[in-house]
Symmetry: C2
Subunit: 238 residues, 2 copies
Amino acid sequence: MRAPYGLNILDNCLTCSVREEHLFCNLSIHAGQRLNEIKSTAVYPKGAMLFIEGQQPRGVFVLCAGKAKLSTSSREGKTIITKLSDSGDVLGLNSVISDRPYEVTAEMMEPGQANFIPRESLLQFLKEHGEVALRVAEQLSRNYYTAYEEIRTLGLATSPSEKFAKLLLSWSPKSASNDNGTQVKLTLTHEEIAEIIGTTRETVSRLFSEFKRKQLLQLKGSTLIIRNRPALEKIVQS
Amino acid sequence: MRAPYGLNILDNCLTCSVREEHLFCNLSIHAGQRLNEIKSTAVYPKGAMLFIEGQQPRGVFVLCAGKAKLSTSSREGKTIITKLSDSGDVLGLNSVISDRPYEVTAEMMEPGQANFIPRESLLQFLKEHGEVALRVAEQLSRNYYTAYEEIRTLGLATSPSEKFAKLLLSWSPKSASNDNGTQVKLTLTHEEIAEIIGTTRETVSRLFSEFKRKQLLQLKGSTLIIRNRPALEKIVQS
DNA sequence: AAGGGCTTGTGACAGTAATCACACCCAAAA
DNA sequence: TTTTGGGTGTGATTACTGTCACAAGCCCTT
C-alpha cells in the first residue's frame, strides 16, 4: 500500500511493529480488536499540525511513523518546545481524559502517519475496559514525570550552557559510544534548540562555538559527535 | 477527639466535610467503605515532611487539614516550590501509580492532618474498582495541566516582575474584591515567594517596594491588598 | 550559473537581575 | 532588659544574556 510523501501505510494495529512497547499494546484480543475498529489512520506531511494549543480535544493521536514536536507559545510569540515525540507516542491523551483544551500544539517535523481515536469512542472504550483505564493512568503519570523533568530544567538549571549540556547528554546514550565519542544525527535547527532550552538562537550558536572550541563536541556535516562526555556532565552538575 | 497541635482529628472519610469535591468522593457506598478501611490517619506539626523527593513511593496522602508545599531542589541547593496544597488534595498519586520515586518533597506549612493509603492497598483497590481508576486518570490529567501551567510560567514569562504579578493575581480571586481592592492574608516569606517564581529573596523585596510605590498593592501587617488589578493584568500580558 | 530563502556565525551594546554586604526590624527567649 | 535569630530593605557591583545588525553559508529551484 502506497501513500503520499513516500510512506508505506500501516493499516492494522494488531500487526504493527511498534505496538509491542506502548500504551495500547498487549491488550486482550477482544480489547485490541475493538480499538482497531474505532481508530482511523491518516498520513501527514512535514509541518502538519495534528492539533493546536487551546482547541477543544477531538481525540487522541497515536504516532505510527515520523516525529512530532509539542510546543506552547505566549501571546507575544515566544515559543517553547516541551517534547519531541517519536513513533509509538500517544498525543493529546491528557486533554481528552480531563476534557480541557489541548495544552500544546503538535506539529509533524517530518512526514508521518498517525492513528486517530475520537474522544467519545475512547472514553466509551475505557468505560467498557476498566483494565485499560489503569494503563491510561500509568501513561498519564509517566507524562507527568516528563513534565516535572521539564520544570526542573527550566526552574533549577540556571544558565543556558547548563541546559544545553543537559540536552546534549540526553541525545547521547552512554551505550552508543565508542572511543571516538558518541555520534548523533542533528535534525534540529539552532532556533528549535533555543526553543527547547529557553534561550535565543544567537546564544545557541555561541554555545556551539564555545563547546567546539573547548573540544566538548565536534560537527561533521549534520552529524554531532560528543567528544568529552565527563566535561558535559560536570557542566550539568544538578 | 483531641490531638496534638490543637487540631481536632477527623476520623471518618465518609462524614468528612471536605470529601464532597475531591478525588475519592462520591464513590459508591461499597467502594467508599473499602477505602475507609485501608486508610490510616495521622497528625503532623509544621515543618513535617510527608515525603521527600527521590524516595520510593510508600503510598498517597490525602490532606485533610492544613497546608503543604511541594518543592524540588537541585544538588547545589537551589529550590523551587511547584505547588501549594490545600485540604482535599491528594499527594504522591503520580509516584504511586507509575511506581517511580516521589518527584517532589511535601512539607507541612502549618499543623495539619493527612490520611495515608499504602501503595499496595491502593493499587489493589483500583484493580477491584475499575470505575475509580478512571477517576484517578482524570485527577492525574488535572495534575498534568497544573504542571503545564508551571512550565508556561517558567519558560514563557520572562521577567521576575511578570511572574510576581501573575502570582499576586492568582491569590486574589476577582470575586472577593470590594471597591478598596482584594485582601489576602500573606503567609509566605519573601524567600518562599522567590522559590515560587524562580528568583532571589532580594528581588522579591525590591518587587514589593516597586509595586507599593506604583500603588499596585499595599501592606497592612500581614494583610496584602491588591490596589490596581488591571495594572497587574497588564504586566502579565501572556 | 544565478537567484532566493532559510540558516548560521559573530560583533557591539545595553539592561536586568544575581551576588555581596550591611543595617534594620520584630518577636521570642534568656 | 538584653540577646538572639529569622526575616526584610536597599545600595554597589558585576556578569550574563537578550537584542540588533549584518555578513556569510547552504540548499533548492529556476
